[in-house]
C-alpha cells in the first residue's frame, strides 16, 4: 500500500528536493530525518494512539507530521491557521486529540524535535487498512463543522488511481490549497509516491501577482493541482503562459465547476497542456471521477466531470432512490472503495447509506450520465462552492444568529452569468435599540467562522416578501 511505497522512497535518503516553501527546499533525506524523529516522539508520547491535530500554515513540519502519524498508526487532523480560534476549539472538542502539533507542541519545539541528527530508523508501519488515515472538517448545516473520517484504504485507492491518470515520476507538483482543504490531499501524496518535489505556493497576498508569478516561474513545475478560480485569477495576466512555465504539462482541476472560458484560455496559452477535470466530495476521498478535457467543446455542451474510478459506482437516482434513465437529471449517489467511514461523533445524517450491498454516499449534488460519462449540474440544497470551498449557507446563518444583537438573518449567494458564486451576502435585521455597524458585525463573525466563509454584511430593516409570504430572495439580492 502507499505507506510502504512512501517509506521505501524515504529510506533511499535521496538528495532530490521533496518540499519547497518560501524559497527554502528540503530533500527527501531531510524529510526522512524529520519523519523518523516525529514518529518516535509520537510513539513515546501517544501510546494510546489517539488522534493528533496538526496546526499551522503549510510549513514543512505539517507534512512531516502527517507522514509520521500515519506510519505510527495515528489519525491526523489538519487545521490551517486561517480557521478562527472558536472553530478550532469546536474541532478539538469533537476530536479529543492526544496532542496538537503546532499548538500544545509549539512550532519551535517540533522543529527542535524533528531536526535531531542522531535519530532511529522506522521499521514498522502501524496503520491498518481500515484505520482512519485523516479527518478533514467541512462546513455543516448545523453551524458546527463536521469531521469526515477517511480510511487508509480510501486514500490508498485514491492515490493509486490518480497516479495512474497523471503518470508522474520525479517531477514538480504545485500546491495551491491549504491542508485543511482536501484538494491538497492530491498533491501531498502524489508528490510522495512519485518522489516528486512538492512546491508550495504561498498566496497570503493573493493580489500580489508578481510574488505569485515569481514563485510559479521558479518552481519549473510540471503539474498543478488547482481550483478553477485560482487558474482564472492567473489567466488574468497574459504572462501566465508557456514561457513562464515551460515544463507545465498537466493541470488537475477539482473543487468547483470548470468553465469553457477557462479551458479555451488555457489551451491558447499552453498549446499541449493536458487538462484533467475531476469530481468528488470530501466524503468520497478527494475525487471519484476524472476526464481529460478536449480542446474542442461545443458551446451548448456541458463540461464532463468524468468517468468513475474502477472501484466505485455512480448512480443517478430520484427521491425514492430509484435509478433514473440516462441523460435525465437526478441526485448523484456514489458507492464503493472511496466512500469514507462516515462522520466523527454522533452526527445525524442520511447521507451515508447502504446501496446494492455496498457503502454509499448521497452527495446532494444533481447531475446526469450520458454515454457513461458523469456531468454535474448544481446543488439540490443551500450548499455552495466558493473559491473551491464547500460552504453551507445555513452554517453561516446559524453563526450570525448566535450574535446576541441579531434579530433575523438570511444568507444568499450572489452569482454571475456563469452561475458561479462571486460573493456571499448576509442580510441582517438588528434587534430593537441596537446600533452596530456592518464592519463591527463582520469583526464579531470572524471570531466564529473562517475568512473564506465570512459574507458581506448588509443591515436591512425588513425583508421583502413574495406572493407566498416568504422572503423574496431574488429581490433582496437585486435591491442591494
Amino acid at each position: 500500500m502507499i505507506l510502504d511505497d512512501i517509506l521505501k522512497i524515504l529510506k533511499e535518503k535521496s538528495e532530490d528536493k521533496a518540499y519547497t516553501i518560501n524559497n527554502e527546499s528540503y530533500s527527501y533525506k531531510q524529510l526522512y530525518k524529520f519523519v523518523c524523529n516525529i514518529y518516535h516522539f509520537l510513539l513515546k508520547e501517544n501510546k494510546e494512539k489517539r488522534p493528533i491535530i496538526v496546526y499551522g500554515h503549510k510549513e514543512m513540519y505539517m507534512k512531516a507530521t502527517f507522514i509520521a502519524c500515519s506510519l505510527a498508526g495515528m489519525t491526523y487532523i489538519p487545521i490551517d491557521e486561517s480557521i478562527p480560534n472558536q472553530r478550532v476549539e469546536q474541532i478539538i472538542k469533537q476530536v479529543n486529540p492526544s496532542l496538537s502539533i503546532g499548538k500544545d507542541i509549539s512550532k519551535e519545539e517540533i522543529y527542535k524535535i524533528m531536526n535531531k541528527e542522531d535519530y532511529s530508523e522506522i521499521n514498522n508501519i502501524y496503520l491498518k487498512p481500515n484505520d482512519i488515515y485523516y479527518i478533514i472538517f467541512t462546513s455543516g448545516s448545523t453551524g458546527i463543522p463536521k469531521g469526515v473520517k477517511v480510511t487508509y484504504k480510501n486514500l490508498d485507492s485514491c492515490i493509486k488511481w490518480l497516479k495512474n491518470i497523471i503518470k508522474i515520476d520525479k517531477e514538480v507538483i504545485i500546491n495551491q490549497a491549504n491542508f485543511s482543504f482536501d484538494l491538497s490531499v492530491a498533491d501531498l501524496y502524489l508528490s510522495l509516491v512519485s518522489q516528486s518535489e512538492h512546491f508550495i505556493i504561498n498566496n497570503d497576498t493573493m493580489l500580489d501577482f508578481n510574488k505569485i508569478f515569481e514563485q510559479l516561474k521558479k518552481s519549473n513545475a510540471n503539474i498543478m493541482v488547482a481550483t478553477p478560480s485560482f487558474i482564472d485569477l492567473l489567466l488574468l495576466d497574459k504572462s501566465f503562459n508557456k514561457e513562464l512555465m515551460p515544463k507545465l504539462h498537466t493541470i488537475l482541476f477539482c473543487g468547483e465547476k470548470l468553465l469553457k472560458s477557462t479551458i479555451s484560455k488555457l489551451y491558447s496559452r499552453f498549446n499541449n497542456i493536458k487538462i484533467i477535470n475531476s469530481y468528488g466530495p470530501t466524503e468520497c476521498t478527494f475525487a471519484v471521477t476524472s476526464y481529460g478535457i478536449n480542446r474542442y467543446i461545443d458551446n451548448d455542451e456541458d463540461i464532463p466531470v468524468g468517468i468513475p474510478k474502477k472501484d466505485v459506482k455512480i448512480y443517478i437516482i430520484d427521491e425514492n432512490k430509484n435509478l433514473i434513465e440516462d441523460e435525465k437529471i437526478g441526485e448523484i449517489l456514489i458507492t464503493g472503495e472511496s466512500v469514507a467511514d462516515g462522520y466523527l461523533g454522533n452526527i445525524k445524517n442520511n447521507s451515508f447509506i447502504q446501496y446494492n450491498g455496498a457503502k454509499g454516499y448521497l452527495t446532494g449534488d444533481l447531475g446526469y450520465i450520458k454515454n457513461g460519462i458523469l456531468y454535474y449540474k448544481e446543488r439540490k440544497d443551500k450548499q455552495i462552492k466558493f473559491k473551491g470551498y464547500r460552504i453551507e449557507l445555513t452554517d453561516i446563518e446559524k453563526n450570525i444568529q448566535k450574535l446576541n444583537y441579531i434579530d433575523k438573518v438570511i444568507v444568499l449567494a450572489n452569482k454571475n452569468k456563469d452561475n458561479k458564486v462571486i460573493n456571499i451576502v448576509a442580510f441582517v435585521i438588528l434587534k430593537e435599540n441596537i446600533s452596530k455597524s456592518e464592519l463591527e458585525i463582520k469583526y464579531d463573525l470572524k471570531k466564529e467562522i473562517p475568512e473564506y466563509m465570512c459574507p458581506k454584511i448588509k443591515i436591512v430593516s425588513s425583508f421583502p416578501l413574495n406572493k407566498n409570504g416568504k422572503c423574496d430572495e431574488k429581490k433582496l439580492l437585486e435591491e442591494f
Binding site: T205, M206, L207, D208, F209, N210, F213, S229, D232, L233, L236, D237, K238, S239, F386, K387, N414, N416, V421, I422, N423, V425, L439, K442, C454, K456, K458, F480
Partner: protein, 78 residues
C-alpha cells in the same frame, strides 16, 4: 470615469457605501477579494476597452478607487 468605476465595484462587491466613502482602502477593509478582483478586471477591460496585466500593476493600486481610475486612464492612453 471614476463614477463608473465606483458603480462597477459596488455592483461586484455590494459595498453600497463606496459612493460616500470613496477613499476607503479596498483591500484593508476586504471589500475587494480575489473573486471580486477577477470580475473587476474583466469589467474594466470590457467597459474601457483596455488590457490589464496584473503583474505590471503595483498591488497597492487595488487599494483605492482613485488609483484604479489613474491606472485605467493610463492604459487608455497607451
Amino acid at each position: 470615469m471614476e463614477e463608473r468605476i465606483i458603480e462597477i465595484i459596488i455592483k461586484l462587491t455590494k459595498f453600497t457605501k463606496l459612493k460616500e466613502n470613496k477613499d476607503i482602502d479596498l483591500l484593508e477593509n476586504e471589500i475587494l477579494d480575489s473573486l471580486a478582483f477577477l470580475e473587476l478586471i474583466t469589467a474594466l477591460e470590457e467597459e474601457f476597452n483596455v488590457e490589464v496585466q496584473p503583474t505590471q500593476v503595483n498591488p497597492n493600486t487595488w487599494r483605492s478607487v482613485e488609483k484604479i481610475t489613474e491606472l485605467v486612464k493610463k492604459l487608455m492612453c497607451s
